[in-house]
Subunit: 459 residues, 2 copies
């Protein structure tokens, strides 16, 4: 494959053209051709495009990065560009259109074919996060009472290299979606059979206003190659294909991870290096500052027990250990629960089972950590002076007991927060790790000082 | 759809049968039927299955949960079950086979059709994480020099409801993969054209030994409905379909999130509620305990500066704030970098750009947090006694200065770790949030005490 592309490169540099090479190029995967082509400068790119017919050009161009597409657009007149634009797949065309300035959009529209113009304006009007915002209008439709033979004839007549034909959709005269069938079903059936005998009905679908993550979930659930998108009346408006679903799932994951770490990106965020320092700062500072502000509660608790700490300084030395361990335990359990919720393995109504399970898991982890903490305190503070009233064994015991309680409560809190957030309709990933760390700090300090006061009789 | 299923339920309860209803049922999405059927008890389920032909039964059964499949299997003789098993899609059949005990496998094999038996044994031999472990053998092949007309005839003859036919694969007489074409390409071409004129070649493919995440990435890159899987000689062994790719991507996300939180799940981990307490414990305790053990370094640093703390107890009160803020900042930047690496937006060679960017972002965040910390210390410790040598203004200044330094270093460390891990060939998500928290604690304490000693002249 690389050889073919290299030969092509050679021809382009020498401004030669070979029909045979053009034939070979058409067999290669479009993404490979596109990745090579988009690195060319604009005049070489125009020559490269000439190896392909209009439809192929549109398909290849749609696989360039948006910035390369914009760059190319801005080097040419709207009129010359319109031809390429007309032949792009509908959802890529719309994405590009939305990146143009208002002036550029106004300039381009008159040169588009009427159907393309209408299609672009319709699609561009939908919110980006909805089904309408990611759907394609490149699909084929048939009538319910056609025979298989007529259906195949219609498909051949309507053919257009953009149209997805893994599935074809059956609609009534009012364009309402009745069902679908696969091309395989068509060719394996007798020519005289009518479509209502082989159709799959009803067809799983989504409303054009539904959230795109819901669309991706349906595609996953039904293992569909494409999900038809309908309006409230049931009319077929577009389709969302499996590759869009994969993109949505990937982006959903980025959002989850970022929410979990308290990063508020704006929608449609650019890649890391293309986002400037100020944008990064804005996305991240709010959360970190809010946590620091909430952390004032921890500060107030410590302040309340200042006297306790002064009377037994050794307690102050182990506060960080308690904060860390509690934070780790809580974040861990929160992660497990957030994922289990995301994969549909548990629901908020399972909360009792979940908390009970986490309680038991944390009990064993707490025992391990408590023992470790006991050993740590003895080892580190062996030579520290302690007030006569107490022995190091006692103090170590109290600290490790408090730590064990902290691990258990932190784990249970870490597991509960995502469940609560989901129950109230929010996204569990928002029960972010930094939030949990801050909350379990507060409970941890209360437990710590509570134990010190209760078990050692301090003030 | 629910109405149809309810009518069906009624018929099953009254052990009646209606051919019309059977016809309607065949049009519904298999997953909906399967979700209803798997809740039935075994005798009702047998009656329900009788509404479908053998191939449909295999397809529906393959959509049950594995535990329901096993349950059904264990209620019947291997001989009766074999018929159902023979008609399951190849990858689901293999997954089920791998869940049987060795005795059950030995018991079942003799009753399988020879081709099925060979297929199952072949597929079951591949490692679960490889392309071979997730591929299907239900695909159609054609010869390069066939005409379109003969190709369609062959497909009709070979037809089998399991075979994926969105794409068909063209092989040479030695079964080497030459290329592929879509069914649409076939029906839109003239019957007399030969396949070598319309074929797409070479076909993107993956080796049977490649990692499944690599397979998913290729499917994503080429927007393929299915990726052919070949052996080292180039012979076509199987295909991995887009829905498998979606599953792999989902599981990859779970693993990333869990690694990031220090949870070591075993491969093929069961859903949350089906995993018992002991298994959860084992996956999670190692990490938490290791961190606690590493935390001894923090403990030793605090111990070294005990005298410092005793002389200025107010310092001890703010150690938790430093630990928290540092941990939050470090985790945040690590998350951003891990995701940017995963999405291919940055590579380890970009480390200088990345660290410089993070440095600048953290500088501004550090200024905000430093000011906040200054205010906090003044507010909380207004009435605390301080040794005469110092004023609260000074101490607050030193603490907030140390915190600002801590935020900057923590952010840079949090960004560096994933880059380093990736540079040495590891998975960046392993530069897990708890590890970062522990490391920045250590550096944070050193900064804290360093500032206290240097700026306040303490010991």
């Amino acid at each position: 494959m690389q050889q073919v592309i290299d030969r092509w490169k050679g021809q382009l540099e020498q401004t030669r053209f070979s029909l045979d090479l053009a034939q070979e190029l058409k067999k290669l995967p479009p993404i490979e051709l596109a990745q090579f082509m988009q690195e060319l400068d604009n005049s070489d790119l125009v020559r490269a495009l000439s190896y392909f017919d209009s439809e192929e050009q549109g398909l290849l161009f749609s696989q360039f990065t948006i910035s390369r597409q914009l760059d190319f657009y801005r080097s040419f007149s709207a009129k010359r560009f319109a031809s390429l634009f007309n032949h792009m797949p509908s959802e890529d065309r719309t994405d590009l259109f939305q990146q143009l300035t208002k002036e550029e959009q106004q300039e381009l529209l008159p040169f588009l074919e009427p159907l393309v113009r209408q299609d672009v304006l319709n699609l561009a009007a939908y919110p980006a996060e909805s089904a309408g915002g990611i759907m394609s209008t490149d699909f084929a439709t048939l009538n319910l009472h056609m025979s298989v033979e007529s259906a195949l004839m219609k498909l051949r007549k309507d053919a257009d290299s953009k149209k997805m034909m893994y599935h074809v959709y059956v609609v009534d005269p009012y364009k309402n979606l009745v069902g679908y069938l696969s091309l395989k079903d068509l060719i394996l059936s007798k020519p005289s059979e009518t479509l209502d005998q082989i159709i799959k009905s009803p067809a799983p679908s989504a409303l054009v206003t539904e959230d795109r993550e819901e669309v991706a979930r349906k595609i996953e659930k039904y293992d569909l190659v494409a999900l038809p998108i309908v309006n409230a009346q049931g009319q077929l408006l577009g389709i969302v294909t499996y590759d869009e679903a994969i993109d949505v799932i990937r982006e959903e994951h980025t959002e989850d991870m970022e929410k979990f770490m308290g990063i508020h990106s704006e929608q449609e965020s650019l890649p890391y290096l293309e986002t400037n320092v100020w944008q990064h700062f804005r996305a991240r500072v709010v959360w970190v500052v809010s946590l620091a502000a909430v952390g004032i509660v921890s500060g107030m608790i410590i302040h309340r027990y200042e006297a306790t700490l002064e009377s037994l300084i050794i307690l102050a030395l182990y506060m960080p250990m308690l904060a860390d361990t509690g934070g780790n335990a809580g974040s861990q359990s929160a992660t497990v629960i957030v994922r289990a919720l995301a994969l549909g393995q548990i629901k908020p109504l399972h909360w009792m089972k979940v908390i009970f399970k986490e309680f038991r898991i944390s009990f064993f982890i707490a025992c391990c950590l408590g023992l470790l903490a006991y050993g740590k305190v003895l080892y580190l503070s062996w030579e520290t002076e302690v007030p006569e009233m107490y022995s190091l064994w006692q103090i170590a015991g109290v600290i490790s007991f408090a730590l064990s309680l902290q691990v258990i409560t932190a784990t249970c809190i870490g597991a509960s927060l995502p469940l609560m957030v989901r129950k109230f309709g929010g996204d569990p990933a928002v029960a972010a790790s930094p939030a949990i760390t801050t909350i379990v700090d507060i409970t941890g300090l209360l437990i710590y000082f509570g134990c010190a006061v209760w078990l050692l009789g301090l003030q």
